[in-house]
């Protein structure tokens, strides 16, 4: 016997009402790959589970009028992978989401869940930060938007008001000569938690980097947007001096923990190494030979 309530509303308004009514005892169920594990371990004891996968807006990938994409918060990683146009425009975002767990986990795990789990090591988040994703949030007071890097507050904590639900991620249109990539350092070959994760998105015109964004994961209480690293890349030909400066900016931004998966010194150094490697892949995708 259980006193948990399971709801699967078909509209966002209903979901917001149900979630707000649960008054702190509610949990949103997207892919469930974190929530069910937490429930089983006794870490989460929700009074109401609000399953958002019956809401069309939250399970759809749509192209926006200006040529960007809107990705529902409850779209599974496997669905992202199967979307050829999205994969072509944002290979880094898709590869980051597809590093989360096994094939089975990919069938369920979602970018919305990855963000809202609030782990600084969530793989999709640095790639979304690099991509300048804007998060649409709906709550009892209506709808608002936040840059993705503003959503996490700390490990397991979010800048969301009570009753607010993450609805979707909007990725901007891609100028010609753009590319993105995500790499993470793990001691295994697959199915592990990032020791450091790095997302880079850039645009190259006539050999010169004209726009760049860098997201770093697992090196601070939240995923970071590293503006100094982007500044070092912009205006350069991605030469050694620029890469060195950007790598140093990444290392300087690190405020990591010391744990069994990586020491402070190690994470700080690897952040710079990953910046170089990820930038190389993003540049190649941007069409630089």
């Amino acid at each position: 016997m259980t006193d948990i309530q399971y709801l699967a509303p078909t509209t966002l308004d209903e979901a917001v009402r149900a979630f707000a009514a649960a008054a702190g005892k509610g949990r949103i169920l997207a892919g469930g790959t974190d929530l069910l594990v937490q429930m089983r371990a006794g870490i989460a004891r929700p009074g109401t589970i609000v399953d958002i996968k019956k809401i069309p807006e939250m399970t759809a990938i749509a192209e926006t009028k200006d040529g960007g994409f809107r990705i529902g918060a409850a779209v599974a990683g496997a669905v992202l992978r199967d979307h050829a146009k999205l994969r072509k425009a944002w290979p880094g975002v898709v590869e980051a989401a597809n590093l989360i767990g096994s094939t089975q986990i990919q069938g369920r795990a979602t970018p919305g869940g990855n963000l809202c789990n609030g782990s600084p090591a969530g793989d999709s988040v640095p790639a979304m930060v690099a991509a300048a994703a804007v998060v649409t949030i709906q709550g009892p007071k209506g709808r608002r938007e936040l840059p993705v890097e503003k959503v996490p507050k700390g490990p397991g904590r979010l800048n969301l008001e009570p009753g607010e639900i993450v609805v979707s991620f909007t990725l901007p249109p891609r100028p010609k000569g753009s590319g993105d990539a995500y790499l993470r350092m793990i001691p295994r070959t697959e199915m592990d938690i990032a020791v450091v994760g790095c997302g880079v998105s850039l645009t190259i015109e006539k050999g010169v980097c004209t726009a760049a964004r860098v997201g770093l994961g697992a090196v601070a209480p939240t995923v970071l947007l590293v503006e100094d690293a982007a500044k070092a890349l912009i205006g350069s030909k991605l030469d050694d001096a620029a890469l060195d400066k950007a790598a140093k900016a990444c290392s300087a931004a690190c405020r990591p923990i010391d744990d069994k998966r990586g020491t402070i010194a190690y994470r700080t150094q690897v952040a710079g190494v990953l910046l170089r490697r990820t930038t190389a892949i993003a540049a190649e995708r941007a069409g630089r030979k």
């Binding site: 309530q5 399971y6 469930g32 069910l36 371990a41 399953d51 496997a78 986990i105």
Partner: protein, 160 residues
């Protein structure tokens, strides 16, 4: 709290059941529905022994609420053979002894079948990555990977 009534489709057959809100699909499959082919190894989505398909995609049934099965197409290992006629993967696993204790086998077979449906000609690398979420503590994986590769080759030959 009253039990939830769920209408779903399992291995192509309409199926109804009652469940608690926090009960996993795996619990309902193995309990009231008596479909004990799906195994519980870890209960946390790490081992893949509980692998089933939901609308054709593989998932860990331990990480899915039974209530979420409402209106979905669920596939389990019990639906893999057609009567006494084993699926080519099942037949090959027997021939090549690609199992020992057998606990992981239903999940491995479900995952491998989904792979071959998407990609009839996977590389060894692709097979190993696809099956990375299916842990086996007996075989060392080599026999499993070889059996999947050989089945894929046989099925490609048969399709020609």
């Amino acid at each position: 709290m009253a039990k939830l009534h769920v209408s779903t489709t399992i291995n192509g057959e309409p199926q109804e059941f009652l469940c608690d809100a926090d009960q996993s699909l795996l619990d309902v499959l193995r309990g009231p529905l008596g479909l004990t082919g799906s195994k519980e190894g870890c209960g946390s989505g790490d081992c893949g022994a509980c692998t089933v398909t939901v609308n054709g995609r593989i998932v860990c049934s331990c990480l899915m609420l039974a209530a979420e099965a409402e209106g979905q197409q669920i596939g389990t290992i019990e639906g893999m053979a057609e009567g006494d006629h084993l699926h080519p993967l099942q037949q090959k696993f027997l021939e090549m002894a690609a199992l020992q204790c057998g606990i992981c086998t239903p999940g491995v077979l479900m995952a491998a079948k989904a792979l071959l449906e998407r990609n009839p000609d996977p590389t060894e690398h692709e097979v190993r990555f696809w099956l990375a979420g299916n842990l086996c503590r007996c075989t060392g994986y080599d026999k499993i990977i070889r059996a999947v590769m050989e089945t894929a080759a046989d099925m490609r030959g048969a399709a020609r």
